[in-house]
Amino acid sequence: MDQATLDLITYRLSYVWAAYSVVMIGLFVYLSTIGRRQRKLAQDINLLRQAIEEKRK
């Protein structure tokens, strides 16, 4: 295979790479936001629960 063909393949693969990395980055970002939201909610719920407990005492 000569250099020109290899360049063409690399060129075409860059599209494939772009598309797949967009999907993977998108999924990763979504998963991390979900994780962040879960932690934040768990924190808020615990805080409120503690406040209620203290009120009872």
């Binding site: 599209y15 999907v23 979504y30 909610l41 719920i45």
Partner: protein, 231 residues
């Protein structure tokens, strides 16, 4: 309820989705033959269709869950609808991002007003509107009812949108996405990819549902505090 409580089988499902994604990657890059016109770039087709199909599935679930909510008034259906819409919106975004990459190579333009692409874009707007309604209504039951109504209307509108955009499109479809008939091995790779993303869709929806349920719980605690303060 713990916001990390995802329901049964969530952990196993995560591993299943990951395994299926790896199998599908193998099927796409090693197993399926090279397409003759698009060559390597045709590999985008698998993930594009896999995500697109599941975006549509997600919105169908929103529609069904919305109908179920209006019939039963059980908040669990509202949680499912909201979670599914969220994952659907994510997938639609991914479809809209991978579509132009394909288009840039195939049609030498980032965007064409091709019926499927256009319909997907409008679909994206509809479900963004769905979340605008959800964030605009504070009272939980009213929010659930109103977003359910919109979830049903929006989904039923999709076939009409597709039909009208197709009728309107004077642009010729340069290349059918499969390039006519699919090679059987390509079809197998596609089916695996679709299933992989379906597993991923269910996995992500469970996560989003856990968040929605926790939000619901937080609202209830706050409501309890408010009533306690008044008494």
């Amino acid at each position: 309820m713990d916001p990390k409580d995802h329901g049964r089988g969530h952990f196993a499902l995560g591993w299943l989705a990951l395994a299926l994604l790896l199998v599908s990657a193998f099927a796409i890059f090693r197993y399926a033959p090279l397409e003759k016109v698009m060559l390597e770039v045709q590999k985008i087709f698998y993930v594009h269709v896999g995500v697109a199909w599941n975006a549509f599935l997600a919105f169908a679930v929103v529609c069904v869950a919305s109908i179920a909510y209006l019939k039963t008034k059980n908040r669990r259906w509202d949680v499912l609808a909201a979670a599914s819409a969220e994952v659907g919106l994510l997938f639609t975004t991914l479809v809209l991002l991978t579509g132009p990459v394909w288009g840039r190579f195939a049609w030498n333009t980032w965007w064409t007003w091709e019926p499927r692409l256009t319909t997907t874009l409008i679909l994206w707007f509809i479900y963004v509107a769905y979340f605008l309604i959800r964030s605009g209504v504070a009272e939980p039951h009213r929010r659930a009812s109103l977003s359910a109504v919109f979830g049903i209307i929006g989904f039923l509108d999709v076939p009409i949108i597709y039909f009208s955009v197709r009728l309107w499109g004077s642009h010729p479809i340069v290349l059918g996405k499969g390039g006519g008939g699919l090679h059987p091995m390509m079809l197998q790779a596609l089916i695996i990819t679709v299933f992989a993303y379906t597993a991923l869709y269910v996995y992500l929806t469970q996560k989003a549902m856990a968040v929605e349920r926790a939000k619901m719980e937080l609202d209830e605690i706050k409501e309890g505090l408010r009533e306690g303060a008044q008494a």
